[in-house]
Amino acid sequence: MQNEQDQILSEVTSGEYKFGFYTDIEQDSIGKGLNEDVIRTISEKKNEPEFMLEFRLKAYRHWLTMEMPRWAHLNIPEIDYQDKIYYSAPRQKAKLKSLDEVDPELLETFEKLGIPLQEQKQLAGVAVDAVMDSVSVKTTFKETLAEMGIIFCSFSEAVREYPDLVKQYMGSVVPYTDNYFAALNSAVFSDGSFCYIPKGVRCPMELSTYFRINAANTGQFERTLIVAEDNSYVSYLEGCTAPMRDENQLHAAIVEIVAMENAEVKYATVQNWYPGDKNGKGGIYNFVTKRGICKGDNSKISWTQVETGSAITWKYPSCILKGDNTTGEFYSVAVTNNHQQADTGTKMIHIGKNSRSIIVSKGISAGLSNNSYRGLVKVLRGAENARNFSQCDSLLLGDKCGAHTFPYIEADNQSAIIEHEATTSKIGEDQIFYCNQRGISTEDAIGLIVNGYAKEVLSKLPMEFAVEAQKLLQISLEGSVG
């Protein structure tokens, strides 16, 4: 029985990575290496105001004093930061007036990824900011949103057009001193999305950023900043893919969210960076700092993530529940297959009274992969009646993979109620056989079981993406029967 399981397990993963193509496009990039001159060049190329350059240089100098964190349950090979390119942009005309001026190759790239940039072809109700390598290629529905006072544009544009907003909020949730990768990002970040929802406005469509790494040897460092003023609402979705390459590529991003009184921000990620091949060659190193602050009373921030890609994932979308009656949510499905490694989870920092948080983490490990949940629930002294509920489940396919749970709890207020539940289960050969006996193929059976297991999280995704995410889960696990 063991032998047969091993045999099935070792069968080649048939789920080919669908987004592994590479676009041959003229690039404007600078040489390899990282130093102050490189940072000055990036800032110059982006025509940045002085305050940005200063921010970058401070971050860089701080980064030099730091060391790469080693506490995660990850085996991270040595990264040579001098061997990377820190700026690469698809070359295009200086100013784009209309879509006609966007390089057709670029448009085609995003078409292939299922992200048409022509507005008439758009998914109804989704505005997209497309970021390739280091720069934002095109933001759709900008004008429509602008009529409501909503700003949705590339980060670079925000730096130029809305410097005061950027100055006020950038680094206010994730300071450059926060951690090694945050410092690196703050020094060299190239672009990303910026979103501002004014008071009392409910954003009428999904906002979405699609990140694509294309160029070789290039790190991608994007930043997203979302500010939701009093009584506003926005739902945001982020998607990511990359070409298949033999070498590992570095991705270190920052997302900051600020929610004022009564504001609600939903942030969903479908992360599908190239995971490497079945032997563990290539793949993206994904080191991401995502954090939101529920600054005003009664505000709410909700993180939903479906993590299927990357060779290494190091990511803990967190909430600082500063206002009273605030709510933080974290819903996560993380799939690892073959040689992938993921150490992901969240931090819920309860500061305000009656603050609430919920954590639902569903890890799925297959192949030789390692999948860890790491979470902190911290209740500060003033957080009367704070509540947390955490549910951390692990599902194993086969017995060569690992699942780990590291929940940390620090409560400084007696009235806090913190509940933690954890389960570990296996997709049994008997479950698969039961499905087979009802005419359902093994691949479909795994799809059914995995989607059933992850249902609670998938149901939090915007409709349009839930279906895609379901398929993605199944594809990521193809060939990995346990």
Binding site: Q431, Y434, N436, Q437, T442
Partner: protein, 253 residues
């Protein structure tokens, strides 16, 4: 419909089925009885294609085709249904989703269009009534937290939904109260037609009061040692397996 010839199968080097011969024709109901551990479930599993078991020799023809070379799902799609002795729980997968996937796979196999949502729900409703299964069960995840008897009823419900050609029911009557037993019988008798065949594996002759078999076989230590009509079950009830043991010819060990 089903012809088993000298089927031998083993697990971890131990021979469990030691030469089974059995022929089941369309329209027939067969009962297989036998003491614990005699190989009844093994036979059922081997027929359904569970790959835990090694087929050492013999052949099985199902509707003229070699059954043993097909995958479990192909066998299912060809109309072979196994009611599990121990039905499996699949947390998070709703009965509705499970049944819909199964039925549409089978329809696709037959070159039919998938059922529309309303057709499917109508069918669910019909079959639920037939086997008197509560909606509170079919609205839940597959077998999750079901009681022993509920799981068995759910097997019959699935059988009714899938309308198999050959149903093998492995101790579906064990652990059922008398009302549930009647429901199982009703489900089986409803399926029964000149085109279908049913094999019931049971320890109790009382089931055979409701499902009247054409043949009763006694499986003993991996072999069918007796075949008869319904009266064989009565004889067994009266005399116990001790009787078979004594009667078994020497040299069969």
């Amino acid at each position: 419909m089903l012809i088993i010839k000298d089927l031998k199968a083993s697990i971890e080097g131990e021979e469990i089925l030691k030469g089974i011969n059995l022929e089941v024709k369309a329209g027939e109901v067969h009962a297989i009885m036998g003491p614990n551990g005699s190989g009844k479930s093994t036979l059922a599993s081997v027929l359904a294609g569970r790959d835990l078991y090694r087929i050492d020799s013999g052949e099985v023809k199902y509707n003229g085709e070699d059954l043993l070379e097909k995958s479990p799902e192909e066998r299912a799609k060809d109309g072979l249904f196994l009611g599990f002795q121990y039905p499996i729980e699949i947390p998070g997968v709703s009965m509705v989703n499970f049944m819909k996937t199964a039925i549409n796979e089978m329809r696709r196999h037959r070159g039919e269009e998938p059922l529309s949502a309303s057709e499917f729900l109508k069918k669910m409703r019909e079959k639920k009534e037939l086997v008197e299964i509560d909606s509170s069960l079919t609205n839940r995840s597959v077998n999750e937290g079901f009681s022993g008897g509920e799981k068995k009823k759910n097997e019959i419900f699935q059988m009714a939904m899938l309308e198999p050609k050959l149903a093998i029911l492995d101790e579906t009557d064990s652990g059922l109260d008398i009302d549930a037993l009647k429901v199982v019988a009703k489900g089986v008798n409803n399926l029964k037609s000149s085109e279908n065949a049913i094999i019931v594996i049971t320890h109790y002759q009382r089931l055979l009061d409701y499902i009247v078999p054409d043949f009763v076989h006694i499986l003993y230590r991996g072999r069918i040692v007796r075949t008869g009509g319904k009266e064989l079950a009565l004889l067994l009830e009266e005399k116990g397996y001790e009787w078979v043991r004594k009667e078994e010819p020497a040299g069969n060990e």
